[in-house]
Point group: C2
Chain length 417, copies 2
């Protein structure tokens, strides 16, 4: 058994028994981003979950938490949101995976082109990786060029080009990747100059959300430089909104900067937990998008599209970024104040809708681990080194309950520190 589990700080007997079963039939006991719950995590962190409702989730041992992971993004409106689940049930009654798409595909494409400022067309897939990879392919088909510029460390999916762990990936797979530093215009322009004439696309996330480090918003100067460089090179600017979809701005995450991409990849929150991703783009790339061959057996399924329609409509109607922003601000203020009161210099960095927890002078993350471990025992599911996610179901009462848990957690680590 390759999972290292220290003695849990509280009893998770069922979680332990399911982990032991998993170790026998799943390589390493877990894989992908969910190894985050199995490795490099505080001892109280549960790996297996039983259910979700609104802003809460329950582990397999029956503990209830205010959920600040939201399935690492997909849960935008709260678990099992009534309007979304009603749309799902109605569509499921008719059909999901049929011998062709349903009308829902066209409804959803129309809704996205109305909602997202630069979107003239849309295509759908399952994974975020499908959407970012399709974007790159469309850019190459349109330009006939090869190089893809991306920020170093930035995650854009687990495809051969992007995956952060290179076991099983050949050097050939990465030949056309060129890296620059996020928010560093000089480094971007250097990369552009070095490969001028052969640049198919520049791909960026709306802000820097690498794991383990403080999050960083894009500067207006950087966003404009990326846009200008892409335009000058005749390359496509791809905005990777897989993680940010519908949380920052339903029209597109860089609208407040006045910068529009040519292609945007969406996934995660697009259907409030139902599996769908989307690539949207501008008219100039429409014929290239019609040329590439990207597909999957379930990419045309009607139920997740019905869920996406209900999710986007609700997000627009309630102004989800604002609602989630208010909840995120309340939590940020409460957590940071509770930390100070307990004698800790702690901050939630990045957009308040997707905050990252950071203690000062905590490079080895010992404080973050101790704190998130204690928070679990006080009913709050946080993450010590990955950005978290707030949902529209995190109303004032929920946030205040979470702050109370966080206050107790700070007291606990203050006693032992």
């Amino acid at each position: 058994m390759s999972i290292v589990v220290e003695t849990p700080a509280w009893a998770l007997p069922r979680d332990q028994s399911v982990r032991a079963r998993a170790a026998a039939v799943v390589p390493g006991g877990m894989y992908g981003h969910m190894t985050a719950n199995a490795q490099n995590m505080p001892p109280s962190f549960p790996q297996f979950y039983d259910r979700g409702a609104g802003a809460y989730t329950w582990d397999v041992d029956g503990h209830r938490y205010v959920d600040f992971l939201c399935a690492f993004g997909p849960v935008l409106l709260g678990h099992r949101h009534e309007r979304v689940e009603a749309a799902v049930a109605a569509q499921a009654e008719r059909g999901d995976t049929l011998s062709g798409p349903s009308e829902r595909m066209v409804d959803l494409a129309e809704l996205l082109t109305e909602t997202v400022a630069h979107a003239d067309w849309a295509m759908f897939a399952k994974n975020g990786t499908d959407a970012t990879s399709a974007a790159v392919r469309v850019a190459r088909a349109a330009t006939g060029k090869r190089k893809l510029l991306k920020a170093s460390v930035a995650y854009h999916g687990a495809n051969d080009w992007f995956t952060p762990r290179t076991a099983g990936v050949t050097a050939e797979d990465r030949l056309n990747i060129v890296e620059f530093a996020y928010n560093d215009v000089a480094s971007l322009l250097e990369a552009v100059a070095e490969h001028t004439g052969d640049i198919a696309a520049i791909i960026v996330t709306p802000f820097r959300h690498d794991a383990f480090v403080e999050q960083e918003l894009a500067t207006a100067e950087f966003a404009r430089a990326v846009r200008e460089a892409a335009t000058r090179e005749g390359a496509a600017l791809i905005l990777d909104e897989v993680r940010t979809a519908l949380r920052l701005d339903v029209r597109g995450a860089w609208e407040h900067l006045g910068v529009r991409p040519d292609l945007t990849a969406f996934s995660k929150a697009l259907a409030n937990g139902h599996p769908v991703s989307a690539l949207v783009g501008v008219d100039a790339l429409r014929s290239a998008a019609a040329e590439v061959y990207v597909t999957g057996s379930f990419w045309f399924s009607a139920v997740p599209m019905a869920a996406a329609i209900a999710t986007i409509q609700e997000a627009v109607e309630i102004d989800a970024p604002a609602v989630i922003g208010r909840a995120g601000s309340r939590f940020k203020d409460g957590l940071e104040a509770a930390g100070r009161a307990a004698g800790f210099e702690v901050a939630l960095t990045g957009p308040v809708q997707m905050p990252m927890l950071n203690f000062a002078d905590d490079r080895d993350k010992k404080l973050a681990f101790a704190f998130t471990d204690a928070a679990l025992r006080h009913g709050v599911l946080l993450h010590p080194w990955h950005n978290m996610f707030v949902s529209a179901a995190h109303d004032d009462a929920v946030v205040d309950e979470a702050i109370a848990g966080v206050v107790a957690a700070f007291r606990e680590i203050a006693r032992t520190a």
Copy 2:
């Protein structure tokens, strides 16, 4: 508008109007394998579907068909199968996409390792492409080698390596692909000899199911040669059962040949239409599988896993390959006899569970197009150039209804031929 739609042989007014809307907001009006419904198809072929139930599907204009596409494979037990949908509803009540996997992941991994002869472990994803690509990555991680041998034309997904249309794909992406001819041992051995020492994997489908041509079962000699070559080279033998999953043999499609792969990719029928794919493998590749980083936001969702458990259990209990095989044989016999009676030399080739329609002397597929066009108007959804799929819901009465439709269709084309 780039879709070429000839005057439909019967009225599909709603389909036409949805196609027109799609043309405005989806590149080319449609993408991926679903362009099969929009291009290169008989004029009566509907593109948009409204619902499915058992062996039947309805287009958006309300026409009911006996469905021999089964969503291009996913529908194994019939649309909206009661046992599967009950499992889906029960799991959805608790949670689907949570902040970690549910116990269903382990239940499903245990079930697959019990069911599939060579499977010692399992991992899950969404697309078939995810599973074949992960298989290649595991093979490379295990061997430290680069080359991937595949049969020419064979489709193994729409990743950069495999996609049959190369718009937007660089030459670098394909540097490590080596092709041989299916069922041609000499060609296989030549490819192996040319790259000996640098072969990570050989990937094959259980039988040859390329579009447009007659299907071909694997010869025992070929299957054994593939196995021996992989073993001799220390390479992994990957069986691509994305399309065949649960339809030919629940233990693995080459069990009757006595040939076991090291890795198998499953998808499509695994959860009767719910989105999940799986990679299973032997113990020798377990640690390599734990090393690679493959993941997706929805790969750990509980509902499709609950659907897969119910689907596999039902498939094993009813012996789905046998049930579907009897239905497929009945349909093959009926269709071929009806053709002969009408003066046509026509055959369903390949496994009876996944037959391909072929008229003699019909290279331009004119007869196949005319026949499948007529069949639609007699309530039978067939495909003129792609293999079709029979489900366990195709009972004797349904098959006989389809044969009656096919008899009428043959009469119709005999009159006009």
